[in-house]
Symmetry: C2
Subunit: 428 residues, 2 copies
Amino acid sequence: MKSYVEMSREELANERAMLKSMYEKYKEMGLALDMTRGKPSPEQLDLSVGMYSNLSKDGYKAKDGTDTRNYSCPAGINDMREVFAQILDTTYDKIFLGNSSSLNQMFDSIMRAMVFGEHDSDKPWAQIEGRKWLCPAPGYDRHFRVTETLGFELITVPMTESGPDMDVVEELVKDEKVLGIWCNPVYSNPDGIVYSEETCRRLASMKTAAKDFRIYWDNAYVIHHLSDDKAKQGKVPDILGLCEEYDNPSRVYEFASTSKVTFAGAGISCIAANKDNLDYAKKIMAVQTICNNKVNQLAHARMLPDLKAVMAHMSKHAGILRPKFEMVDKVLSENLDGTGVATWHKPMGGYFVSLFVMPGTADKVVQMCKDAGVALTPAGATYPYGKDPANSNIRIAPSFPSVSDIEQAVNVLAVCAKITAIDKILEA
Amino acid sequence: MKSYVEMSREELANERAMLKSMYEKYKEMGLALDMTRGKPSPEQLDLSVGMYSNLSKDGYKAKDGTDTRNYSCPAGINDMREVFAQILDTTYDKIFLGNSSSLNQMFDSIMRAMVFGEHDSDKPWAQIEGRKWLCPAPGYDRHFRVTETLGFELITVPMTESGPDMDVVEELVKDEKVLGIWCNPVYSNPDGIVYSEETCRRLASMKTAAKDFRIYWDNAYVIHHLSDDKAKQGKVPDILGLCEEYDNPSRVYEFASTSKVTFAGAGISCIAANKDNLDYAKKIMAVQTICNNKVNQLAHARMLPDLKAVMAHMSKHAGILRPKFEMVDKVLSENLDGTGVATWHKPMGGYFVSLFVMPGTADKVVQMCKDAGVALTPAGATYPYGKDPANSNIRIAPSFPSVSDIEQAVNVLAVCAKITAIDKILEA
């Protein structure tokens, strides 16, 4: 297809008329398609349907004899700590198991720092006026919302193909008010970018003005590959090990969960940290609660006893997800290749496709889609304060809808992207 | 038996020699008995052993069709909110379901107030220098530890047979630095006291200097009766309703859980609050997490669909617990009646027996028990800062050990109480 910017005004007007009539047809179809959030589909949830079926066998006991039904074991049963250690390429003693939500653990971690400070802080973070947090963007809206709600100024860091722009990060952390950074290192939300080893090493080794600076390493999609082909699978180094190697052992909190492995609303989350961070956090968490849900930990450990079992399970997820991601790419390509009005990532894993439409049009595209019954994450959501300075990025979440629904929804999206692009060009 | 204080020194010396030889015999037995914590016994946990067996039936769906396996429903599924509403004599819209630990919800609630303030606060509580919290004592050590850790000065309030001494409370809340009070209204930990209606009304209606004063109403044992006889069952009025009646609608957060209904480490907890408090908390909790574990909520709701099912289930618990409490009372009576050196409560429910030994001896009694292989909650634990001013109260937790272990342990305890009492009298 001819690039829109090379078209004459007349060609554009004709193209627009054709697209508009397609759009009106979509509108008449009364669609109700939802691609707003990275939710697993029922088919994916069905993969774990038998998880609770053999719990009463051996009396709900963990391998070491712990009765998971009773109080005890604040850090969680070793059976499941070991599984997460294998997933995160670390050791089980660095793992603390939470309940279902890793976001909850991130929030609670920063809350602890707010009220008590970190073990290496001079004072509680709540007392630091003008505290700041680095937000590589596009990024995860819920991350940004945590630090915004907790009174941090959010500083946008551009994303590159190898992770956050480290030249920018290294400059920004010279400010002692900058206390941390959100990272989503494998198949980043929404771009699907895998941080390069160099990025990881620079994050672990950089000099920060704040001695209690923290990396929040949300490894949400660490094993969420779309392909079984090892060569195509993203992998980053063990960040805990790297931070130790560079003599910044307390710099990082790592997080993961089984929300997109077993059940999104009933999985197991974990925090991984070095001994100083974990001992400090555990002291406060021991005041907060006696223990988390160990029966659910046991259910997980029995179904997924080791990394091999986990990866076999993840391969089934990939089998369900791959056709959906392929459909997104196919429809976008068919509609947009050559037009010059949009680009998008082709992620090898994770839960999203990040689409960049013509600058200044993303909000209009999302609104037009909504009017035609296709719900997308609000434009801007992937940036701090919900404001994309280029008004260009749209996050597509293809996991929940069916392949045919995706085909329809992305066709609508592409038509809307083209119409708004033409309007933008004609305006100029 | 003759009262010790009426005995001659010679009689006391003889009595002591006899007791000492009994104690030495116990010591030689190499006992290892644990009565430190209010843990359900395996027999109690077995009552809920089938809880997860029919989850996959109907595809893990709540009554309204919600797929409990996926994200959604931050306040929890209505099926289980309704059960808690019946338990707490309120309505389901006031109920927010958490994960397994109600202590976690209490901690998080005060953390929110610390960082954000309450909806009716002038500023975050962390900014209130010299903030104070009322602690009816004897009370629950984990309550006290939360507010101590969060920088509150703990103010001891004496317990009476009808709850906290309200004359004292009403005086103390004239101080605007006093921001809250711990209450455990039904079968209080450790005394087993049930607050009178008058106490509840005075708490709901009293004038507090702090306009954002909060009652933390931990209704942990609300349905944990030892008897099926309704006349013997403790009951307090719905505190949310009372606070509304007296025009202090935001004064109270109420908490409950199924920790001692189903599984201590894997139950469902809830917070109950009026609309203003709940809306305010939910706004922050929506940043903290997407949702809590709804699969576990569904498992609970299917096994215990309404109050009737819950009470039938609790009756089975009572059947297991009653003989244990009776044994504690029997052994204490046999050993201590008439000696004048100890008193204790005869609770109609809950998890503890509160024993008062001769003032100034509780720590020695606990140490002697420990030396003989009987572990008790540390003396003083039931008071703020772990310091019982009278050094008299000992909390007995009879739920976990077997009846015969209890018999032995309480015999040891009684012997130790008598020896230390005699020493005390002889010292004087």
